[in-house]
Every structure is written in C-alpha cells, then in structure tokens.
C-alpha cells in the first residue's frame, strides 16, 4: 500500500501549492517540500528490504480484460531512480523557492513540478507496462507545462511545443512497441515479461518491438537524431532544466532501457542500434557543447552527450558495462544537477548566461566558483571525483568492444568524445570564473543566498565523497541496482580509485591533455569551427513539421472542402471500394435456397416500382411531381410488406408515408418548386456511375443473401412470445418486451429529432429570418376556398372515428398487428387532418396539448415501466402479465409491456405533431392569415363576417 502512496502523494500534493500560495511563498514551497519529503521517507522505509535483494510489490486488478493492472513494485533499479527523483526533487524545491521572482506564479510552478514528479515516480515503480506508458505520457504533458512555464516568452512556448511533439511522438511509438511486447510475452506485467528472455528474443516480432520501444527511449533521452529538442527546452526556468533535463525526465529513456535490459539486451540488433546511437550521440553532442556560448546550452548538450554515454554502455550488453552505466547515472545526476544550479546562480546574479560576456567571477562569487570547480572537474573526469571513476569504467569497456569485427572504432571515438568533454568542462570553469574581471556585467555579481547555493553544495559533497570512497559510499547501492538491471547475476568487480596502469587510464590522460590544448588555443579552434558547416537541427525539424502540416492540409482540403456533394461522393465511393474488396474475397457460387415463384401481381408491382424510380430520377427537377412519385414508391413498398407476410410493417410504412408527404409538402411551400439545371455532363455521368455501382452492389448483396439458407434466432422469440411476453403478435412483443431497451432508445431518438425540428423552426420565427418570413410573398396562386366546407365537415365527423381506430390499433397491438408505433401515427394523422382542413389557428385553439410534454411523458412512462421491474426485483424492463376476471368481459390479460407501449404511443404522437404543427406555424406566420373562429367559417377573410385578428 505504501508503494501506491509514494506514487500518489505527489499527485495529491499537486493540489495544494496553488491554494497555499495565498499563505505566502514560503508556505507554498514548504507544502511541496513536505509532500515530497513524505514520499521520500516512505521510499526509504523500503531501503532495507531492497538492499537485501528483495522486491516489494503492491497490486490490484484494474482492467483485467485489457491486461491493465494497477501494480507497482520496487526493486534496486526502481528504488534508485525513485530516490533520485524524490531526493533531487527536494533540493530543486528549495532552490526554486529562491530562484523564482515575485512576479512568477509560484503555486502553479510547484503544482506542475509535483505532477511531473508523480508521473516520473510512477514510471520507475510501475510493474505493468501499460501503466508505465500512461505515466510516460503524463511526464510528456507535465514537462510541456513546465518548459512553457514562462508563457510570455516565445522561446519557452516554442521549446515546449517542440519537446512535446518529439517526446509524445516517441511515446506513441512506444505504446505500439509495448503492446507487441506484451503480446509476445502473454502478459503486460513487467515481472512476467522479464522472465521471458528466450521467447521474446526468438519472436519474429522482436525487432519491431525493439525499434518501437527504443524510439520512445531515444526521443525521451534526447539521443541522436532526436537530440535537438533538449537545448530548446532550456528556455525553461533553471530549476526545471536542472530537474527535468539533467536529473530525471531525460533519464526516463535510460531507465526503460535498463529496465528492459534483461529481456531485450544481448542481441546483435540491440548492440548495433543502442550502442551505435549512444556512441554517436556522445560524440556529436560533446562537439556541439564545446562551441555553445550559452551556459545552459553547453550543459544541455553535455547532458545529451552523457546520456549517450550511458546508452552506449547499456548497448554493449555486458553485465559489467551495465554496472558502469548505473554508476555513471548516479555520478552524472550529482554533478550535472549541481552544475545546472550553479549556471542558474550565475544567470540570476550577473543577469547573463553568455560565456562571452562573463569571466573573472572567481573572486566575486567564491562559493559558486568552488562548487563549479569541483562539479566541473568531475564532469571532465579528473581523478579524486566521481566522474573520473565511471568514465574510466566506460573507457575500459569501450576498449574491449568490437564494432563490426573491428577493434578500434569504439575506443577511438569514445576517446575523441572524452577530449571534447574535458574541453567543454574546462570552458565552463575557466571562461566564466577566471580571466580578467570585467566591469560590464549586467548586474553586480555576488554569491546568492544560502537557499540557492546549499542544494548544489550538498550534491558536490556527494561528488567528492563518492570520488574518494566509491566502494563504501556508493558500492552497496550500485551493486543492488546492477543486480536488478542484469537480472540477478552476481558480478565480480570493484569500484576503486586506482586500477593500475590500464589502457583506460591512458585514454583518460590523452583526453585531459587534448582538452587543455584545445582551451589554450581557443581562438584558433573557434575560428576553425566558425569556418565549418553548422547544420541546424531545428531548421530540419521545422521543415519536417511544415511538410507534414502541408500534406495534412492538402489531404484535408482535398476531401473536406465544404462541398456536401464531394463528401457524399467520397463516402459512397469508399463504401463501394470496401464492398468490392469483400466481394473479391468471398465465394461467388450461386445460392441453393429454393426460390418463390414470381406472381403476376408481384411483377406488376416491380414494374411500377422501377418505373417510379426512373420517373423520380428523370423528373426530380419538378419537385411536386417528384414528391408525388416518391409517395407512389412508398405505397408499393407497403404493399410489398403486406404481400411478404409483414402486416405490421405495412401498417407502419403506409402511415409514415402519409406523414412524410404532408411534411414535405409543408416544407415545399417555402422552397423553390423547381430545381435548376446546374451540373455539367461529366458530373452527371460520374454520379450515374456511382449510383449504378451502388445499386448493383446492394442489389447483388440482397440477391446473394436471398438465395441462401440461414439460421435465425427467431425460434426463441416465437416460443417465448406467449409464455414470456404475454402476447401473440411476436413483432410487437419483440419491440416492447424482448428488445424493449432498443425501443426505449429509439423513442428517445425520435423525441430528440422532434425537439431539434422545433428548435430549427422556432428559431426561424425571430430575427432576420423571422423578418424575411414576415415579408414573404407566396409564389403560387391560392385556392379560392381556403378551408373547403366539405373537407372541414368530413374531417370533423371523422375525428372521433379516427381516434377510435387509433385506440383499437393500440389495444390489439400486443396480439394482432398494431401497437404503439402504428397507433401513434394514426392518431397523429387524424389530428393533422384537422389542421389541414380547418386551418392552423382554428385547430391550435382547440388542441390545448403541449407536444413537448407529450414526448416527455411518453419517455417517462416507458422509463417508469422499466424501473417498475426493478421494484419487483427484476432487471430493467422485465415484463409481467396480470390476469383479471371482469364481469361481462370475462378473463382479461394485461401485460406490463402495455404501459411501455403507451410511452411509445405518446412519443410518436408528440414528435409527429410537434414537427408538423411547427411547420404550419411557420406557414401562418408567413401568410398573415386570420384565424377562423366560427365553427364552419371556411374563409375568415371574406368581408361581412366578424373578424378576429390572429392571436
């Protein structure tokens, strides 16, 4: 449990700094410090167990189906990194308190910092690679916030974006790699994966997984060719650079390589990818660092170079090299964080980080100068300091390594890199602190307050102690961590200051000598460098991103240019291609099913249908005519349903048909009555080809299905309809009972559609559109009698009868064709006919029903029926049947599904009426018609009758 707490504490703690900042900057810093300290202490509580070589675990299943478990473990490696993250975190929190100025929002800063810290600790303690990936992405996000902390600086914002682009892209690649790895290993738990070296390395997917995972590691750890983002991220405040870009985040990639070392390392692929990348990175970055004038830029590239060194060591794949890697991670973390903090001090106190503008600070800032001398000498690899020890081990391993069968490339290049490394270390030490004292510093330099120099001083103490007494200070730790990295091998080695006269010592000596010579002849070296080429990684990055953006824009605007015709064309075309691809891959044998004979009636219907379709296509410009023909098609479809044993569908289709045609007529009242000829011939041909292909495809698919036998699950429904659903009309029982949940969703959708229609139409009553409507002039001549007397009388007489038919259809629905949907449509039509015959005003005054409420109550009725089953202890929408004995009528069955069907009925009536009534409202608004109040007043505008204004 305490493991989880270690990870969660920073996340929980991140809430407090923005609140505590109201109590002052010290309170804010103290809160963050306390949270981190707590996590650190909890971690240290595991120290004894870990040093004994045991592993502490905490786990619970989260999403077992995905293999994603919230499991954590701490072994030597995790303990070491978590200790680094939290320990250096503590120092950074103190340092930042004094570094940030009064104008910087400190609460936000600590909040981001703790978020980042939590994500980092999460990475190193995760026992599940999917969980690890989640934390990995969290570090990318939180570091984006930290790098861009000074939002007003364009450099900060750009650096943050670049860092996010590169590291998040790598992270995405890594997710893929992790998924492959988990798939090979059959588990996403690290503990399991680490045991499967054989299976993983023999898998054909080993190389893809390796490359993808390494893409994540290399981008995060700024390895060549992804090294360019790190220096730009240095636009961040120095505490961030010191924390993220030297001590922690950039080590995440290294950590992962170390974590995966037991299963991924040791192959040729691993050696050539990892060791080569590391070697090149070490060399190139050291070279660039030497010529950087910005202190933080120099340190940034030096960091990249040292990360390359560690990567190379891990890439060698030998256990001793892994030990050296671990030891150098520790040493680098100490001296580099110290150097970053001193660079921040110099910047803070003199107002500049430009080496060309500095010099002679040793007497002005003696404490800082001392710290830089010690830490810098360690970075250069001078004896008696910890940097010397691990660099010796690196050179020793390099001298033993063959590359492509050759013995010399690795040691030679490593020595060259070491020369640069010595030179840039000396450059920081001597060009900043020695030389002539200047009189043009932007600010008057002096040593900073103790809060700023104490954190680096503590680290420098470690640098010296490890350097002098490596075995007693760092030995146990390095041993424990190495055991975790190498998977438990016991190794014979000795961390010591003196190994005798080895080749490595010679290489070191060469490096120091060359470094000194370079610095002595700095002007000449610099001139030579200035004359050479300077490829700018950032420009290449920009060009790449611009290219990708342009490509995306071209594709997007090509497909998505605002033309609905084009979208639909692409959609139909894509569907055709997919269908055709599937068609190619499946059997083309004819079906075996016995076919039904085509009767004369059916053929007549078919001819009518085809003729009507042709008519619609050819005459669609005359819209009224086209609408009438579409009505004919609907009618044929309904008859087809009757013929093919689907009476419910026929009833539904025919009533929907009526409503649809009325709706379209109402809309057509305002729309142009004819469609102009616009499209060119090519367009017509193309569209006809697409349409023909689509028709052929769908028709062919239908033919293929109809000529084959099948198995249906309807047997269950047919058997259970009466005993389970209490009704003999299986279609209706399925709707309101078996698949009631579907129907419930459907009526909600229908209600929403009606509300959307209402919103569209109601909005048209006001504003500019409303004024346009008010000024609308009908484009057709009107009939002389607006409300024909015969029609008005007939519909009013018909109304009770129609309603009775509706109720009848509803009641019988459960046992014979009918039901809520059809009854709702029938009742809606009966009501609409009143609007048509007697006018909107007349009908609206008599219909005092709120259609919104009707829809709402319908959905509510359906929901309550469902919830009723909960009350009885059954799942949602379980139905029951009650039996009554009534006088005269005899035994009566009432299914609870009946109440559900009432809901369906209400929604259908409400939705249909809401849509149609609002369309007619628009019409009335446009035509300024008077309301006919008299019962049989067929035209209220006739003179001589009592007039009433519209209400």
């Amino acid at each position: 449990m305490s493991l989880v707490l270690i990870v969660m504490l920073p996340f929980i703690g991140a809430v407090f700094p923005p609140l505590m900042i109201r109590a002052g900057r010290n309170a804010c810093a103290m809160t963050s410090f306390t949270v981190t300290l707590l996590a650190f202490v909890l971690l240290m509580a595991h120290a004894g167990t870990v040093f004994n070589g045991e592993v502490v675990r905490a786990s619970w299943t989260w999403l077992p189906a995905l293999g994603l478990n919230a499991s954590f473990f701490v072994d030597g490696l995790g303990f070491f990194f978590a200790g680094l993250i939290l320990g250096i975190g503590l120092l950074i929190i103190i340092y930042a308190r004094f570094y940030l100025s009064k104008d910087d929002p400190m609460g936000t800063f600590y909040s981001y910092l703790l978020l980042f810290q939590g994500a980092m600790v999460g990475i190193v303690l995760s026992d599940n690679i999917l969980l690890l990936v989640v934390f990995w992405e969290l570090t990318s996000l939180s570091s984006f916030l930290l790098i861009g902390y000074w939002k007003h600086l364009p450099d900060g914002r750009r650096g943050a974006r670049m860092a996010l682009t590169v590291t998040a892209a790598g992270g995405l690649a890594m997710i893929a790699g992790m998924l492959i790895l988990g798939d090979i290993a059959g588990s996403y738990d690290l503990t399991d994966i680490l045991l499967q070296r054989e299976a993983i390395q023999n898998s054909p997917l080993y190389l893809p997984a390796l490359v993808l995972i390494l893409a994540g590691c290399f981008t995060k750890s700024a390895q060549f060719p992804f090294h360019f983002w790190l220096p730009h991220a240095m636009a961040a405040p120095t505490p961030v650079s010191a924390y993220l870009h030297s001590a922690t985040m950039v080590k995440a990639g290294i950590f992962l390589m170390a974590r995966m070392w037991p299963v991924l390392a040791g192959t040729d692929e691993w050696f050539y990818i990892v060791a080569t990348t590391g070697l090149l990175t070490m060399l190139i970055a050291a070279y660039i660092a030497l010529f950087k004038d910005d202190l933080k830029g120099l340190l940034a590239f030096s960091t990249v170079s040292h990360l390359g060194l560690v990567t190379m060591l891990l890439g060698f794949g030998t256990p001793i090299a892994a030990v050296a890697a671990v030891f150098h991670i520790l040493n680098h973390a100490t001296f580099k964080a110290a150097l970053f903090m001193t660079a921040g001090i110099v910047d803070h106190e003199t107002g500049t980080r430009d080496i060309k503008r500095l010099g002679g600070l040793a007497h002005l800032m003696p404490i800082t100068a001392t710290l830089v001398m010690l830490a810098g000498a360690s970075m250069a690899g001078l004896p008696l300091l910890n940097g010397f020890l691990s660099k010796e081990m690196m050179l020793h391993e390099a001298s033993l390594t063959d590359w492509g069968g050759l013995g010399w490339p690795v040691p030679l290049l490593a020595t060259v890199a070491a020369c640069f490394s010595v030179a840039y270390s000396f450059r920081y030490m001597f060009h900043v602190f020695f030389g002539h004292r200047r009189d043009d510093y932007p600010r008057k330099p002096h040593d900073p307050p103790v809060g700023m120099w104490l954190p680096p001083a503590l680290l420098v103490v470690l640098v010296v102690l490890i350097g002098l007494f490596p075995e007693s200070v760092a030995g146990p730790l390095v041993r424990t961590v190495s055991r975790a990295v190498t998977g438990g091998e016991v190794l014979d080695y000795q961390l010591a200051l003196w190994h005798g006269f080895t080749p490595a010592l010679g290489m070191s000596a060469v490096a120091v000598t060359v470094g000194i010579v370079v610095l002595k002849n700095w002007r000449a070296v610099r001139a030579a460098w200035l004359a050479g080429p300077h490829p700018e990684a950032r420009a290449m990055f920009r060009a790449t991103i611009s290219f990708v953006v342009d490509l995306a824009l071209t594709i997007t605007h090509g497909v998505h240019n605002g033309s609905l015709q084009r979208y639909l064309g692409f959609m139909v075309g894509t569907a055709l291609l997919l269908g055709y691809a599937t068609f190619l891959g499946s059997t083309h044998a004819p079906g075996e099913r016995a076919l039904l004979p085509a009767t004369a009636v059916a053929v007549v219907g078919w001819v009518l249908l085809v003729a009507a379709c042709l008519a619609v296509v050819t005459m669609h410009r005359q819209r009224l005519l086209a609408l009438v023909v579409v009505g004919v098609i609907g009618l044929i479809v309904s008859i087809g349903f009757v013929y093919l044993s689907a009476p419910d569908l026929a009833l539904t289709q025919i009533s929907v048909e009526v409503v649809t045609v009325i709706l379209m007529l109402l809309a057509l009242n305002f729309l142009p009555k004819e469609t102009p000829r616009e499209s060119g011939r090519g367009r017509h041909v193309l569209d006809a080809a697409l349409a023909g292909a689509a028709g052929l495809g769908v028709g062919g698919a239908a033919w293929a299905v109809l000529t084959r036998d099948f198995e249906t699950l309807s047997g269950y429904y047919l058997e259970q309809s009466v005993p389970g659903g209490g009704g003999t009309n299986v279609v209706n029982v399925i709707l309101v009972d078996f698949r009631g949940f579907d129907t419930f969703g459907e009526i909600i959708v229908l209600g929403i559609a009606a509300l959307a229609i209402f919103a569209l139409l109601d909005g048209a009553m006001f504003g500019a559109v409303g004024r346009k409507l008010a000024a609308w002039v009908p484009d057709q001549t009107r009939a002389a009698d607006r409300h024909p007397l015969m029609l008005a009388v007939a519909t009013r007489v018909m109304l009770p009868l129609s309603l009775l038919v509706g109720v009848f259809i509803f009641l019988r629905g459960h046992n014979v064709p009918g039901g809520g949907f059809i009854a709702g449509l029938v009742v809606a039509i009966a009501l609409i006919v009143q609007y048509m015959a007697s006018g909107f005003g007349w009908a609206a005054q008599r219909m005092k029903v709120d259609y919104h409420a009707l829809i709402g109550s319908g959905v509510l009725a359906a929901a309550l029926t469902g919830i009723g089953s909960w009350m009885a202890g059954y799942p949602f929408l379980t139905s029951t049947v009650w039996h009554f004995e009534l006088p005269l009528l005899g035994e009566l069955h009432v299914a609870s599904a009946m109440f559900f069907d009432i809901g369906v009925f209400l929604v259908v009536v409400g939705a249909t009426m809401l849509a149609l009534a609002n369309l007619s409202r628009i019409g009335r608004r446009a035509e300024h018609l008077l309301v006919n109040r008299e019962p049989m007043d067929v035209d209220p505008s006739r003179p001589g009758l009592a007039r009433s204004r519209e209400s």
Partner: protein
C-alpha cells in the same frame, strides 16, 4: 420473387444515391427517403422472403415468418421518418437563412486556405507573426 425484391432494392438504391449527389437540398432529401426505403427492405429481406405465413402465434399456423427483422425494421421505418423530417426542416431553415438551397458551402468559404505562415508557426514552433505572440 427473390430476384424482383433484390433488383427492386438495387434500383431504389441507385436512384437514392443519384439524388443524394445532387446540388440542391430537396433532391437530396428525396434521395435520402429512397435510400431509407432501400435499406429497410434490404434489412427486412435478411429474414428471407415468405408468403402467407403469419408473424402471429396461432394454433392453426403450420409455420411462421421470421419476426425479428420485422421488429427491427419497424423501428427503422419510424427512425428514418424522424431523420427525413430533420433533414427536410434543415433544408427549409437553410433556405430561409441563405436565400438559396445549395447543399455546398458558398464558394467563398470553400477550401479555406489558411495563412500558411501562421499555421506553421503554431504547429512547428516557428516565429509567430507579430501580434500573434500572446
């Protein structure tokens, strides 16, 4: 019989797709309606074609037609009605707003060509144009 239904569905689809690709709203709505018919009949035919068999439980019935596709298509018909209604009302509103019933965006708004400098700066971390720096 099967051929009549299959080819009928095909013809309905072809007519629907052709109208769907027109430039004005009303033909598109009609096309949508035709496509709905085609889809509904297609779905219905997944239960295969039967003549004179009831979907209603009856002691006298020898066999039954497949009720499941019927139930699914019944709701589909109602939902297609809702969809057609929304589409037609949208066409109406759009006509009232814009005074034309063309389905595409106006030429001026089509294939928007953003300032490439600004887009790159935003994505690639280039120097943002002055004024866009905050």
């Amino acid at each position: 019989m099967e051929f009549l239904v299959a080819s009928g569905v095909g013809v309905l689809t072809a007519a629907g797709v052709y109208l769907l690709l027109r430039k004005r709203t009303f033909p598109v709505v009609l096309g949508l309606a035709l496509l709905s018919y085609a889809t509904n009949v297609f779905l219905f035919s997944m239960g295969r074609l039967t003549v004179n068999l009831p979907p209603v439980i009856n002691d006298l019935a020898q066999a039954y037609t497949d009720p499941l596709p019927q139930a699914l298509v019944l709701t589909a018909i109602v939902i297609s009605f809702g969809m057609t209604a929304v589409a037609v009302v949208m066409a109406l509103r759009s006509f009232l707003e814009n005074d034309d019933d063309i389905v595409d965006l106006p030429e001026s708004a089509m294939a928007l060509d953003p300032d490439p400098e600004a887009a790159d700066a935003d994505v690639a971390g280039l120097d943002a144009p002055p004024g866009a720096s905050r």
